[in-house]
Protein backbone atom coordinates (compact mmCIF):
# COMPACT_ATOMS: atom_id res chain seq x y z
CA UNK A 1 0.00 0.00 0.00
CA UNK A 2 1.27 3.41 -0.93
CA UNK A 3 0.80 6.01 1.75
CA UNK A 4 2.38 9.40 1.15
CA UNK A 5 1.06 10.90 4.37
CA UNK A 6 3.54 11.67 7.12
CA UNK A 7 2.76 12.22 10.78
CA UNK A 8 4.52 15.57 11.10
CA UNK A 9 5.98 18.50 9.25
CA UNK A 10 9.26 17.78 10.99
CA UNK A 11 9.43 14.37 9.33
CA UNK A 12 8.37 15.85 6.00
CA UNK A 13 11.23 18.37 5.78
CA UNK A 14 13.91 16.33 7.54
CA UNK A 15 16.03 15.81 4.41
CA UNK A 16 16.06 19.36 3.05
CA UNK A 17 19.77 19.94 2.55
CA UNK A 18 21.88 23.05 2.86
CA UNK A 19 21.94 24.85 -0.48
CA UNK A 20 18.66 23.33 -1.65
CA UNK A 21 16.34 25.19 -4.00
CA UNK A 22 12.97 25.31 -2.26
CA UNK A 23 9.79 26.58 -3.87
CA UNK A 24 7.31 27.95 -1.37
CA UNK A 25 3.69 28.28 -2.36
CA UNK A 26 1.43 31.16 -1.54
CA UNK A 27 0.55 34.61 -2.71
CA UNK A 28 0.88 36.81 0.32
CA UNK A 29 -0.49 34.66 3.11
CA UNK A 30 -3.07 32.75 1.02
CA UNK A 31 -1.65 29.32 0.35
CA UNK A 32 1.46 29.93 2.44
CA UNK A 33 2.55 26.62 4.03
CA UNK A 34 3.26 28.05 7.47
CA UNK A 35 3.60 24.75 9.31
CA UNK A 36 6.13 23.41 6.80
CA UNK A 37 8.13 26.64 6.91
CA UNK A 38 8.19 26.54 10.70
CA UNK A 39 9.45 22.98 10.50
CA UNK A 40 12.09 23.98 7.98
CA UNK A 41 13.19 26.78 10.27
CA UNK A 42 13.53 24.35 13.17
CA UNK A 43 15.30 21.84 10.95
CA UNK A 44 18.03 24.37 10.29
CA UNK A 45 18.89 24.05 6.58
CA UNK A 46 20.95 26.99 5.35
CA UNK A 47 22.06 28.66 2.13
CA UNK A 48 18.66 28.04 0.63
CA UNK A 49 17.42 29.40 -2.67
CA UNK A 50 13.76 30.26 -2.20
CA UNK A 51 11.22 30.70 -5.00
CA UNK A 52 8.04 32.51 -3.96
CA UNK A 53 6.01 35.38 -5.33
CA UNK A 54 7.04 37.59 -2.42
CA UNK A 55 9.91 37.82 0.04
CA UNK A 56 8.08 37.35 3.28
CA UNK A 57 5.47 39.29 5.19
CA UNK A 58 5.61 40.27 8.85
CA UNK A 59 7.68 38.13 11.19
CA UNK A 60 6.51 34.62 10.42
CA UNK A 61 6.75 32.13 7.58
CA UNK A 62 9.19 33.07 4.86
CA UNK A 63 10.04 36.28 6.73
CA UNK A 64 11.25 34.21 9.67
CA UNK A 65 13.47 32.10 7.41
CA UNK A 66 15.06 35.28 6.10
CA UNK A 67 15.39 36.80 9.56
CA UNK A 68 17.26 33.69 10.70
CA UNK A 69 19.60 33.99 7.70
CA UNK A 70 18.70 30.70 6.11
CA UNK A 71 18.14 32.19 2.67
CA UNK A 72 21.07 32.94 0.39
CA UNK A 73 19.03 33.79 -2.68
CA UNK A 74 15.41 34.55 -3.47
CA UNK A 75 13.60 34.37 -6.80
CA UNK A 76 10.40 36.41 -6.68
CA UNK A 77 8.30 39.08 -8.36
CA UNK A 78 7.36 41.41 -5.54
CA UNK A 79 9.78 41.50 -2.61
CA UNK A 80 9.12 45.02 -1.38
CA UNK A 81 5.97 45.44 0.65
CA UNK A 82 4.97 47.42 3.70
CA UNK A 83 5.72 44.44 5.92
CA UNK A 84 8.78 42.97 4.20
CA UNK A 85 11.17 44.44 6.75
CA UNK A 86 13.27 41.31 7.21
CA UNK A 87 13.91 40.94 3.52
CA UNK A 88 14.55 44.67 3.17
CA UNK A 89 17.16 44.59 5.93
CA UNK A 90 18.92 41.51 4.57
CA UNK A 91 18.92 42.94 1.06
CA UNK A 92 20.30 46.30 2.10
CA UNK A 93 22.96 44.53 4.15
CA UNK A 94 23.97 42.55 1.07
CA UNK A 95 23.14 39.29 2.82
CA UNK A 96 20.61 38.04 0.31
CA UNK A 97 20.69 37.78 -3.45
CA UNK A 98 17.55 38.75 -5.39
CA UNK A 99 16.43 37.53 -8.81
CA UNK A 100 13.44 39.65 -9.77
CA UNK A 101 11.05 37.91 -12.19
CA UNK A 102 7.74 39.31 -13.45
CA UNK A 103 4.91 37.37 -11.84
CA UNK A 104 3.63 35.79 -15.04
CA UNK A 105 7.12 34.82 -16.14
CA UNK A 106 7.66 33.32 -12.69
CA UNK A 107 4.56 31.19 -13.17
CA UNK A 108 5.53 30.35 -16.75
CA UNK A 109 9.09 29.37 -15.82
CA UNK A 110 7.90 27.11 -13.00
CA UNK A 111 5.31 25.65 -15.36
CA UNK A 112 7.96 25.15 -18.05
CA UNK A 113 9.94 23.04 -15.58
CA UNK A 114 6.84 21.06 -14.75
CA UNK A 115 6.25 20.53 -18.46
CA UNK A 116 9.80 19.36 -19.13
CA UNK A 117 10.52 22.19 -21.57
CA UNK A 118 14.04 23.47 -22.13
CA UNK A 119 13.13 27.13 -22.52
CA UNK A 120 10.26 29.36 -23.61
CA UNK A 121 9.90 32.57 -25.56
CA UNK A 122 7.67 34.88 -23.51
CA UNK A 123 6.58 38.40 -24.47
CA UNK A 124 6.66 39.77 -20.91
CA UNK A 125 9.56 42.05 -20.13
CA UNK A 126 10.65 42.66 -23.71
CA UNK A 127 12.32 46.04 -24.00
CA UNK A 128 12.71 46.43 -20.22
CA UNK A 129 15.57 46.06 -17.75
CA UNK A 130 14.31 42.59 -16.91
CA UNK A 131 15.32 41.45 -20.39
CA UNK A 132 18.73 43.10 -20.47
CA UNK A 133 21.37 40.62 -21.64
CA UNK A 134 18.71 38.05 -22.45
CA UNK A 135 18.17 36.47 -25.84
CA UNK A 136 15.22 37.95 -27.71
CA UNK A 137 13.49 37.03 -30.91
CA UNK A 138 10.76 38.42 -33.13
CA UNK A 139 8.21 35.75 -34.02
CA UNK A 140 5.24 36.57 -36.24
CA UNK A 141 5.68 40.26 -35.58
CA UNK A 142 5.81 40.10 -31.79
CA UNK A 143 8.91 40.37 -29.62
CA UNK A 144 9.80 37.68 -27.10
CA UNK A 145 12.43 37.05 -24.45
CA UNK A 146 13.95 33.60 -23.94
CA UNK A 147 13.39 32.42 -20.38
CA UNK A 148 14.57 29.21 -18.76
CA UNK A 149 12.62 26.83 -16.53
CA UNK A 150 12.78 27.07 -12.75
CA UNK A 151 13.32 23.70 -11.11
CA UNK A 152 13.40 22.93 -7.41
CA UNK A 153 14.70 20.27 -5.08
CA UNK A 154 11.67 20.70 -2.84
CA UNK A 155 8.32 22.42 -3.11
CA UNK A 156 6.48 23.28 0.07
CA UNK A 157 2.87 24.01 -0.67
CA UNK A 158 -0.44 24.36 1.12
CA UNK A 159 -3.57 22.63 -0.18
CA UNK A 160 -7.05 22.13 1.22
CA UNK A 161 -7.45 18.38 1.12
CA UNK A 162 -5.24 15.50 0.11
CA UNK A 163 -5.30 11.72 0.08
CA UNK A 164 -2.67 9.06 0.67
CA UNK A 165 -1.81 8.92 -3.04
CA UNK A 166 -0.97 12.62 -2.98
CA UNK A 167 -3.98 13.93 -4.91
CA UNK A 168 -4.74 17.51 -3.90
CA UNK A 169 -7.48 20.10 -4.07
CA UNK A 170 -7.03 23.70 -3.04
CA UNK A 171 -9.24 26.38 -1.53
CA UNK A 172 -10.20 29.54 -3.46
CA UNK A 173 -7.30 31.84 -4.30
CA UNK A 174 -4.97 29.86 -2.03
CA UNK A 175 -4.48 27.68 -5.11
CA UNK A 176 -2.19 30.24 -6.83
CA UNK A 177 1.32 28.76 -7.34
CA UNK A 178 0.68 25.41 -5.62
CA UNK A 179 -0.21 23.27 -8.64
CA UNK A 180 2.74 24.65 -10.64
CA UNK A 181 5.31 24.23 -7.91
CA UNK A 182 4.11 20.68 -7.33
CA UNK A 183 5.02 19.92 -10.94
CA UNK A 184 8.47 21.52 -10.79
CA UNK A 185 10.16 19.91 -7.79
CA UNK A 186 11.91 16.61 -7.27
CA UNK A 187 10.07 16.34 -3.95
CA UNK A 188 6.77 18.09 -3.33
CA UNK A 189 5.51 18.33 0.22
CA UNK A 190 1.93 19.44 0.80
CA UNK A 191 0.41 20.53 4.07
CA UNK A 192 -3.34 20.12 3.98
CA UNK A 193 -6.27 20.90 6.23
CA UNK A 194 -7.45 17.33 6.00
CA UNK A 195 -6.31 14.00 4.69
CA UNK A 196 -9.36 12.29 3.27
CA UNK A 197 -9.79 8.60 2.44
CA UNK A 198 -8.95 7.47 -1.07
CA UNK A 199 -11.96 8.29 -3.20
CA UNK A 200 -12.82 11.25 -0.98
CA UNK A 201 -11.78 13.64 -3.76
CA UNK A 202 -13.86 13.90 -6.93
CA UNK A 203 -11.65 12.50 -9.73
CA UNK A 204 -12.96 15.25 -12.03
CA UNK A 205 -11.99 17.96 -9.55
CA UNK A 206 -8.51 16.87 -8.45
CA UNK A 207 -6.26 19.82 -9.25
CA UNK A 208 -2.89 18.23 -8.54
CA UNK A 209 -2.70 14.52 -9.43
CA UNK A 210 -0.75 12.49 -6.91
CA UNK A 211 2.09 11.78 -9.32
CA UNK A 212 3.35 15.30 -8.58
CA UNK A 213 3.28 14.92 -4.80
CA UNK A 214 5.66 12.90 -2.64
CA UNK A 215 4.55 13.80 0.89
CA UNK A 216 1.32 14.94 2.51
CA UNK A 217 0.94 16.21 6.06
CA UNK A 218 -2.33 17.12 7.74
CA UNK A 219 -1.81 20.28 9.75
CA UNK A 220 -5.36 21.05 10.80
CA UNK A 221 -6.56 20.60 14.35
CA UNK A 222 -9.58 18.83 12.95
CA UNK A 223 -7.48 16.23 11.17
CA UNK A 224 -9.41 13.18 10.06
CA UNK A 225 -8.47 9.56 9.88
CA UNK A 226 -7.20 8.62 6.43
CA UNK A 227 -8.09 5.57 4.42
Amino acid sequence: MIDKTLPSCEAAVADVHDGATVMVGGFGTAGMPYALIDALLAQGARELTIVNNNAGNGDTGLAALIRHRRVRRIVCSFPRQTDSQHFDAAYRAGEIELELVPQGNLAARIHAAGNGLGAIFTPTGYGTRIAEDKETREIDGRHYVLEYPLHADFSLIRAHRGDRWGNLVYRKTARNFGPLMAMAAKCTIAEVDDVVPLGGLDPEAVVTPGIFVQRVVATSAHRREAA
Binding site: G28, R80, G104, N105, G127, T173, A174
Partner: protein
Protein backbone atom coordinates in the same frame (compact mmCIF):
# COMPACT_ATOMS: atom_id res chain seq x y z
CA UNK B 1 -8.06 74.96 -13.19
CA UNK B 2 -10.73 72.31 -12.86
CA UNK B 3 -9.45 68.86 -12.00
CA UNK B 4 -11.30 65.58 -11.81
CA UNK B 5 -11.18 63.79 -8.49
CA UNK B 6 -9.77 60.31 -8.45
CA UNK B 7 -13.26 58.92 -8.15
CA UNK B 8 -14.31 60.99 -11.13
CA UNK B 9 -11.39 59.60 -13.18
CA UNK B 10 -12.41 56.11 -12.11
CA UNK B 11 -15.98 56.80 -13.18
CA UNK B 12 -14.74 58.08 -16.55
CA UNK B 13 -12.72 54.90 -17.12
CA UNK B 14 -15.73 52.80 -16.16
CA UNK B 15 -17.79 54.48 -18.89
CA UNK B 16 -15.44 53.02 -21.53
CA UNK B 17 -15.81 49.42 -20.37
CA UNK B 18 -18.57 47.61 -22.26
CA UNK B 19 -20.78 44.81 -21.02
CA UNK B 20 -19.15 41.41 -21.28
CA UNK B 21 -15.61 42.78 -21.10
CA UNK B 22 -12.92 40.82 -19.25
CA UNK B 23 -11.11 43.40 -17.16
CA UNK B 24 -8.14 43.48 -14.82
CA UNK B 25 -7.94 46.43 -12.46
CA UNK B 26 -4.41 47.03 -11.23
CA UNK B 27 -3.49 47.41 -7.59
CA UNK B 28 -4.17 50.83 -6.02
CA UNK B 29 -6.12 53.56 -7.77
CA UNK B 30 -7.46 51.42 -10.64
CA UNK B 31 -9.27 49.24 -8.12
CA UNK B 32 -11.73 52.11 -7.65
CA UNK B 33 -13.04 51.63 -11.18
CA UNK B 34 -15.00 48.65 -9.87
CA UNK B 35 -17.14 50.98 -7.78
CA UNK B 36 -18.37 52.74 -10.91
CA UNK B 37 -19.14 49.80 -13.15
CA UNK B 38 -22.87 49.75 -13.89
CA UNK B 39 -24.73 47.27 -11.71
CA UNK B 40 -27.04 46.28 -14.57
CA UNK B 41 -24.22 45.12 -16.84
CA UNK B 42 -22.19 41.94 -16.52
CA UNK B 43 -18.50 42.77 -16.62
CA UNK B 44 -15.96 40.12 -15.66
CA UNK B 45 -13.23 41.16 -13.27
CA UNK B 46 -10.06 39.10 -13.39
CA UNK B 47 -7.55 39.03 -10.57
CA UNK B 48 -4.20 37.61 -11.55
CA UNK B 49 -3.80 35.62 -8.35
CA UNK B 50 -6.40 33.25 -9.73
CA UNK B 51 -10.01 34.25 -10.02
CA UNK B 52 -12.46 35.44 -12.61
CA UNK B 53 -15.80 36.94 -11.68
CA UNK B 54 -14.48 38.89 -8.72
CA UNK B 55 -17.16 40.49 -6.61
CA UNK B 56 -17.06 43.40 -4.14
CA UNK B 57 -15.42 43.43 -0.74
CA UNK B 58 -17.13 41.14 1.76
CA UNK B 59 -19.24 42.44 4.60
CA UNK B 60 -17.26 43.04 7.80
CA UNK B 61 -16.67 39.76 9.55
CA UNK B 62 -17.17 37.79 6.33
CA UNK B 63 -13.57 38.06 5.14
CA UNK B 64 -11.91 34.81 4.04
CA UNK B 65 -8.09 34.85 4.08
CA UNK B 66 -8.12 32.38 1.17
CA UNK B 67 -10.19 34.73 -1.00
CA UNK B 68 -8.16 37.80 -1.84
CA UNK B 69 -7.34 39.94 -4.85
CA UNK B 70 -3.97 40.80 -6.33
CA UNK B 71 -3.66 43.62 -3.81
CA UNK B 72 -4.14 41.03 -1.06
CA UNK B 73 -7.43 42.58 0.04
CA UNK B 74 -10.40 40.34 0.89
CA UNK B 75 -12.89 40.03 -1.95
CA UNK B 76 -15.84 37.85 -2.94
CA UNK B 77 -16.63 35.63 -5.89
CA UNK B 78 -19.73 36.25 -7.99
CA UNK B 79 -22.05 33.38 -8.77
CA UNK B 80 -20.58 31.97 -11.98
CA UNK B 81 -17.02 32.98 -11.12
CA UNK B 82 -14.23 30.44 -10.75
CA UNK B 83 -10.71 29.79 -9.49
CA UNK B 84 -7.56 28.69 -11.34
CA UNK B 85 -3.82 28.52 -10.82
CA UNK B 86 -1.25 31.16 -11.69
CA UNK B 87 -0.18 29.63 -15.00
CA UNK B 88 -3.73 29.63 -16.33
CA UNK B 89 -4.29 33.09 -14.92
CA UNK B 90 -1.33 34.60 -16.74
CA UNK B 91 -2.16 32.55 -19.82
CA UNK B 92 -5.36 34.59 -19.99
CA UNK B 93 -3.25 37.73 -20.14
CA UNK B 94 -0.48 36.62 -22.41
CA UNK B 95 -2.83 35.13 -24.97
CA UNK B 96 -4.83 38.34 -25.23
CA UNK B 97 -8.02 37.22 -23.51
CA UNK B 98 -8.35 40.31 -21.34
CA UNK B 99 -10.17 43.09 -23.09
CA UNK B 100 -9.05 45.85 -20.78
CA UNK B 101 -6.44 46.30 -18.13
CA UNK B 102 -6.39 49.49 -16.05
CA UNK B 103 -3.06 50.47 -14.53
CA UNK B 104 -1.48 53.36 -12.70
CA UNK B 105 1.70 54.91 -14.05
CA UNK B 106 4.70 57.06 -13.24
CA UNK B 107 4.97 58.00 -16.91
CA UNK B 108 3.37 57.17 -20.23
CA UNK B 109 4.94 58.16 -23.52
CA UNK B 110 2.92 59.58 -26.37
CA UNK B 111 3.70 56.33 -28.20
CA UNK B 112 2.20 54.22 -25.43
CA UNK B 113 5.35 53.14 -23.59
CA UNK B 114 4.60 52.55 -19.93
CA UNK B 115 6.74 53.16 -16.85
CA UNK B 116 5.01 52.14 -13.65
CA UNK B 117 7.16 49.69 -11.74
CA UNK B 118 10.31 51.48 -10.67
CA UNK B 119 11.45 55.04 -10.21
CA UNK B 120 14.95 53.85 -10.94
CA UNK B 121 16.26 55.23 -7.66
CA UNK B 122 19.55 53.43 -7.07
CA UNK B 123 18.79 52.47 -3.46
CA UNK B 124 15.23 51.28 -4.10
CA UNK B 125 14.39 47.63 -3.70
CA UNK B 126 12.92 46.58 -7.03
CA UNK B 127 9.50 44.93 -7.19
CA UNK B 128 7.60 44.30 -10.38
CA UNK B 129 4.79 41.87 -9.55
CA UNK B 130 2.42 41.39 -12.44
CA UNK B 131 2.89 44.86 -13.92
CA UNK B 132 4.92 43.77 -16.94
CA UNK B 133 2.60 40.86 -17.69
CA UNK B 134 -0.45 43.11 -17.50
CA UNK B 135 1.20 45.77 -19.65
CA UNK B 136 1.67 43.43 -22.59
CA UNK B 137 -1.25 41.15 -21.85
CA UNK B 138 -4.48 43.03 -22.46
CA UNK B 139 -5.99 44.03 -25.77
CA UNK B 140 -6.29 47.56 -24.41
CA UNK B 141 -4.24 48.98 -21.58
CA UNK B 142 -5.84 52.00 -19.94
CA UNK B 143 -3.72 54.12 -17.64
CA UNK B 144 -5.29 56.30 -14.98
CA UNK B 145 -3.15 58.91 -13.30
CA UNK B 146 -2.87 62.59 -12.48
CA UNK B 147 -1.49 64.33 -15.53
CA UNK B 148 1.14 66.16 -13.50
CA UNK B 149 3.40 65.24 -10.64
CA UNK B 150 3.21 67.28 -7.44
CA UNK B 151 6.09 69.29 -8.83
CA UNK B 152 4.12 70.07 -11.96
CA UNK B 153 6.06 67.80 -14.32
CA UNK B 154 4.02 66.05 -16.97
CA UNK B 155 3.63 62.30 -16.63
CA UNK B 156 2.61 62.16 -20.29
CA UNK B 157 6.01 62.44 -21.93
CA UNK B 158 7.78 62.27 -25.26
CA UNK B 159 9.97 59.48 -23.90
CA UNK B 160 9.90 57.78 -20.52
CA UNK B 161 12.84 58.56 -18.26
CA UNK B 162 11.85 55.93 -15.70
CA UNK B 163 12.54 52.23 -16.34
CA UNK B 164 9.99 50.80 -18.76
CA UNK B 165 7.29 48.31 -17.86
CA UNK B 166 6.33 47.65 -21.46
CA UNK B 167 6.89 49.04 -24.92
CA UNK B 168 4.04 50.54 -26.97
CA UNK B 169 1.41 48.90 -24.83
CA UNK B 170 -0.88 51.70 -23.56
CA UNK B 171 -3.83 52.76 -25.68
CA UNK B 172 -5.56 55.34 -23.44
CA UNK B 173 -4.60 57.64 -20.61
CA UNK B 174 -7.27 58.93 -18.24
CA UNK B 175 -6.19 61.90 -16.15
CA UNK B 176 -7.55 64.61 -13.92
CA UNK B 177 -7.29 67.10 -16.79
CA UNK B 178 -8.22 65.11 -19.87
CA UNK B 179 -8.37 61.80 -21.66
CA UNK B 180 -5.73 60.89 -24.25
CA UNK B 181 -5.28 58.26 -26.92
CA UNK B 182 -1.63 57.25 -27.30
CA UNK B 183 0.10 55.02 -29.82
CA UNK B 184 2.10 54.95 -33.01
CA UNK B 185 0.52 58.20 -34.18
CA UNK B 186 1.49 60.05 -30.99
CA UNK B 187 -0.90 61.51 -28.42
CA UNK B 188 -4.42 62.66 -29.24
CA UNK B 189 -6.79 64.48 -26.93
CA UNK B 190 -10.13 62.72 -26.61
CA UNK B 191 -11.61 65.12 -24.13
CA UNK B 192 -10.63 67.76 -21.64
CA UNK B 193 -12.28 68.67 -18.38
CA UNK B 194 -14.42 71.75 -18.33
CA UNK B 195 -12.37 74.90 -18.55
CA UNK B 196 -9.19 73.22 -19.77
CA UNK B 197 -8.22 73.91 -23.35
CA UNK B 198 -6.11 71.95 -25.79
CA UNK B 199 -3.50 74.68 -25.54
CA UNK B 200 -3.53 74.39 -21.75
CA UNK B 201 -2.71 70.70 -22.11
CA UNK B 202 0.03 71.42 -24.65
CA UNK B 203 1.59 73.91 -22.29
CA UNK B 204 1.33 71.63 -19.24
CA UNK B 205 2.65 68.51 -20.94
CA UNK B 206 5.11 69.99 -23.43
CA UNK B 207 4.32 67.22 -25.89
CA UNK B 208 2.64 67.54 -29.31
CA UNK B 209 -1.10 67.09 -28.93
CA UNK B 210 -3.84 67.02 -31.53
CA UNK B 211 -7.58 66.47 -31.13
CA UNK B 212 -8.60 62.85 -31.55
CA UNK B 213 -10.23 61.77 -34.77
CA UNK B 214 -13.63 60.16 -34.75
CA UNK B 215 -12.07 56.69 -34.91
CA UNK B 216 -9.69 57.43 -32.05
CA UNK B 217 -12.64 58.47 -29.95
CA UNK B 218 -14.13 55.02 -30.02
CA UNK B 219 -12.68 53.02 -27.17
Amino acid sequence: MNRLSRDAIAARVARDIPEGAYVNLGIGLPTRVADFLPADKEIFLHSENGLLGMGPAPAPGEEDPDLINAGKQPVTLLTGGCYFHHADSFAMMRSGRLDVCVLGAFQVSVYGDLANWSTGAPDAIPAVGGAMDLAIGARQVFVMMDLLTRDGASKLVAECSYPLTGLRCVSRVYTDLGVFAVGAQGARVIETVDGVSLDDLRRLTGVPLEPATHEENAP
